[in-house]
Amino acid sequence: MSIIPYLLDFVVFVGIFGIMALSLNLEYGFTGLANFGKVAFFLIGAYTYAILSQTGAPFYLCLIASALTSAIGGLLISLPALRLREDYLAIVTLTTGEILRLIVKSEDWIGGGIWGITVSPAIKMTGASPTSKILVNIGLVFICMAICFIIIQLLTHSPYGRVIRAIREDEVAAEALGKNRSKYKAQIFMLGSAMAGIAGGLFAQYLRFIDPYMFLPIVTFTVWIMVLLGGPANNWGALLGAALVQLFDRGTNLIKDYFTLPIDPTNLQYILFGVLIILVLLYRPQGLLKESEIKTEALRSARARGSTAKNREG
């Protein structure tokens, strides 16, 4: 009976990290931007939400603010960094994330520094049972996730989606065909950062406390595994990856109680995770779900016309 809150808690995290995975998928899977500083925007969103919630602002305003500040952060970082080659972009984004975290950690006036900030929940339910509080959070998180999913699906199944995939494949060729690659990359980076910011805000209000220790680079790497495992450039894949990685983390933690192991179970979990990643990269580098083809209504009807024509001929 008491397991249910833990399972529901798992669902909330799948939602929050689903949004993160979707945003990284948009940046890397579709546009080829190696963003290794994902946690930086998660942090910006979380702290924005935390600071604003203390002024008593309603949750939707706090979430919108989280999205905006993260988007601005994304724009600022993209200005110098997006012209860089993939591996350099990875390094720059990674270090930016760490610098941001260390600044927040050392400067108490920003967000309480090492002491962290307590955050009030989005929807106050004093006196309600813990289970109903989690259910409300599931609702809130999944509505946000659904909005992000729809936006990204619409964007990637459109001419815009063609352009960003072209940029991913061969940005010189894309630019030669009239696409301003800096503009597109900056837009995608801002949108991805905004979504990560929303995820950060939802994270902060669900945990009700944040501090700099919760935003280490391992968060970025976890989101990367979700995208790579689920399948880059497939939005369902991103969600699947988020669910599977969360399941793996919690699942292995649960089953370790039932085995006496020669190796310390905590470290074994990390080892197994690493092995899983290596297996995926070796044997299924395209991820579990294949890259999704671009589907617009016009294409669909053209395909239908094409096949009826073929049928008539054949």
Partner: protein
């Protein structure tokens, strides 16, 4: 073929938790009493947490040798807080929801306390922390379920401030870990000095990151500040490097103050560090056990069982485990509210001194010892007590 192997491996890994959730093995005749333990076994504080876990294990061995609790053996359910309050909260939820524990020894870091404390109270689960020292915790609304074995910063810094005042230092520098422990002590030391009317100046406050392994630039800042006393709040691993490099840079001419983080034989592993400490440290503070008895016994048993001496907080986690066991025994039932009530009334002699709690769940009183480092005739270094202070 390869794809199939991968899918099979994944399927097995994913199905196992489902099987785990559905079947709870309850074959045993005597169901053990579960005490949850939430310490950081990985991450920045991982090494410290592993040593602390041994303190809990020692306590359980002794408890079970003495007949267990409520006539049943005690079993620890261990989880890793990973020096990350988000993970710590998740593991706390697992302990409470999945394992059904009613009392948890932990969490280790203040961040996890702030993230998990409310959840514990919501579920009528008692937490007994060995090391979460942040002042903010006392202000929360869930302190009725949260007890602290560790003495708070203000108490320890009162003792430290006495040393500063008595020795007439006027230019104090601080070199502390940039976490709740280091900064906490630094803040309360400065506050204690101000309240005592100290006329001196806090010339520089250096905060360094735990994982950094080189502190020359920080130490140079201290040197440039021309302080006459430096308060160093470190753990063992970073402390060794700090002191070693302080010797190299010639900072042994001025007075240094230590604390419980850099007390212990761990810091003598490097001869330079030991030499520096012997020469420069005028006094360090740490929570003391009762004179002789309980603390010495604990140190002896710990060293005998694990082959290494205990370090900071090993005694408090040992006491926390004992406190949990005694509270369950006094409650008479394995039930959260009852255990909480019993804990409030608890009073016993622990390895870290007499244990009892005030109305906020904080340690009511404590004894501090002042220590120095000395080298004996054979050239072996050790911590030596030079005084005792009761607060």
């Amino acid at each position: 073929m390869r794809r199939k192997i991968l899918l099979v491996v994944m399927a097995v890994l994913l199905l196992l938790p489902a099987l785990a959730c559905s079947s709870e093995p309850e074959e045993a005749q005597v169901e053990p009493v579960k005490i949850g333990v939430l310490l950081c076994l990985t991450g920045d504080l991982g090494p410290m947490g592993l040593k602390m876990m041994q303190g809990a294990e020692l306590a359980v061995t002794e408890i079970n040798d003495a007949g267990g609790v409520l006539g049943r053996p005690v079993e620890l359910v261990k989880e890793d807080g990973a020096t990350d309050p988000a993970k710590g909260l998740d593991r706390a939820k697992k302990l409470i929801n999945v394992n059904g524990v009613k009392v948890i020894v932990g969490p280790m870091i203040s961040g996890t306390a702030l993230s998990a404390g409310g959840f514990a109270k919501e579920n009528d689960v008692v937490m007994v922390t060995p090391s979460a020292t942040a002042g903010d915790i006392s202000k929360q609304d869930w302190t009725d379920y949260f007890f602290r074995i560790c003495l708070l910063d203000d108490l320890q810094s009162e003792v430290l401030s006495q040393v500063v005042l008595e020795n007439g230092y006027t230019r104090m520098a601080t070199m502390v870990l940039n976490n709740t422990y280091g900064v906490g002590l630094e803040n309360s030391l400065v506050k204690a000095l101000k309240e005592a009317g100290w006329q001196g100046e806090h010339v520089v406050g250096v905060r360094y990151e735990e994982a950094k392994k080189d502190y020359l630039s920080e130490l140079q800042q201290i040197k440039d500040s021309k302080a006459d006393v430096v308060f160093a709040c470190t753990y063992a691993d970073d402390g060794i490097i700090v002191f070693k490099q302080a010797l190299d840079i010639g900072l042994d001419d001025i007075a240094w103050l230590g604390c419980d983080g850099n007390h212990g034989a761990g810091l003598f592993k490097d001869p330079k560090s030991a030499e520096f400490m012997a020469k420069a440290i005028v006094a360090g503070t740490r929570t003391a056990g009762g004179v002789g008895a309980a603390n010495d016994k604990f140190v002896t048993n710990y060293t005998a069982k694990f082959g290494e001496e205990p370090e900071v907080y090993c005694d408090t986690v040992y006491d926390a485990t004992w406190a949990a066991a005694k509270a369950i025994e006094a409650a008479g039932v394995y039930e959260g509210k009852a255990i909480r009530d019993a804990m409030e009334q608890l009073s016993f002699e622990g390895a870290s001194g007499p244990i009892s709690f005030d109305e906020k769940g904080d340690r009511a009183s404590g004894t501090f010892e002042l220590w120095k480092v000395e080298k004996d005739a054979q050239g072996k270094y050790s911590n030596v007590r030079i005084g005792l202070v009761n607060i």
